[in-house]
Symmetry: C2
Subunit: 168 residues, 2 copies
DNA sequence: TTTATATCATTAGTATACTAATGATTAGTA
DNA sequence: TACTAATCATTAGTATACTAATGATATAAA
């Protein structure tokens, strides 16, 4: 059985969610290609390195929270990075449940070229756009994120369940 | 060996790429939760349904292009949706390589509640933001996407390789 | 102090993304 | 026409995301 009804249309092109997602995908693709080509690291590895440059010795849980993924998702990423010699797990002496993660000199030496990639993407992405429009966009997106988080938290407060989001 | 050097810092918070990605993730999470709770479909299923509502009978390749994923990625998504009775593969009579995909009445009947979810997210995300800021943001993001695609295409033209982006 | 609860990292299972390779079929060229 | 190219859907292999469950440990409560 196949539908023949005329359906209500949804205006994707003018939806902020749609446009934000398209733009995010464009950033991810360009940046990932740039990082692989020039540095030999992936986008998810950039995120971990960027976090640890600011705060060395974070636990896996802390890194996951800052990057915005689940702890379980981070495990194989850390596994691979440790195998590739980009970082090292160090068991904490006072709390044996946790690992503290430290970048190796190899990762350190790659950090500058990673930043160059980031700045290159940043420069090209902003071509022919006024600085004031960039600032308005940044501020608007920050407000939107805050609104969405508040909306999700609202749901959680009404019925106090565990976690309920799945990305697939 | 562990790094002790003072590293150059990268200003994530003021990077458009970082903020766009954070916002996209917030949209994806809220919308996915909303769709599952109220309709029982996933975000990727919403994308496929939304595409087919506008143009019934697209091939898998065409859907993949519109959604912005690879054809291979779409296969298991279509598999699952067919199994769940949301759509049907129909072999094309004049070109036996392709399937044409049609929504079932079941999917049609869910479309309105999907739109309600989308509008709900949209309303909450825009709370306390002026319409003119939303419009500037939309226009700026469209320009950024265009710039990034142009930048990627530039790379491809210089060295005519196959495809080179990988999302991990 | 003993018991219950919470936390961290890991594993298992599933979904979604990619590339590369395959088979079937079509289109283009010699 | 026959041969080569290209195209579509699929499969296999890998990476990244999630939830749920596990074991080890730490904290809180009785």
């Amino acid at each position: 059985m196949i539908s023949t009804l005329s359906m209500i249309k949804y205006d994707f092109e003018n939806s902020v969610g749609f446009v934000v997602n398209t733009t995010a995908k464009a950033f991810q693709r360009s940046f990932d290609v740039e990082l692989r080509k020039n540095v030999g690291v992936s986008l998810s590895q950039w995120r971990v390195v960027g976090t640890l440059v600011l705060q060395p010795g974070l636990t896996q849980k802390e890194i996951a929270d800052k990057v915005g993924i689940e702890g379980a998702t981070l495990v194989p990423i850390i596994d691979k990075m440790e195998k590739e010699g980009l970082l090292k797990r160090k068991p904490d002496s006072s709390d044996r449940r946790i690992n503290r993660i430290y970048l190796t000199p190899k990762a350190d030496s790659l950090w500058e070229s990673m930043i160059e990639c980031a700045l290159r993407i940043r420069k090209h992405s902003a071509k022919n756009i006024s600085e004031s429009d960039i600032q308005i966009t940044l501020e608007t997106l920050r407000k939107i994120s805050k609104n969405l988080v508040a909306f999700s938290d609202l749901d959680k407060t009404i019925i106090p369940v565990k976690k309920t989001h799945r990305m697939n």
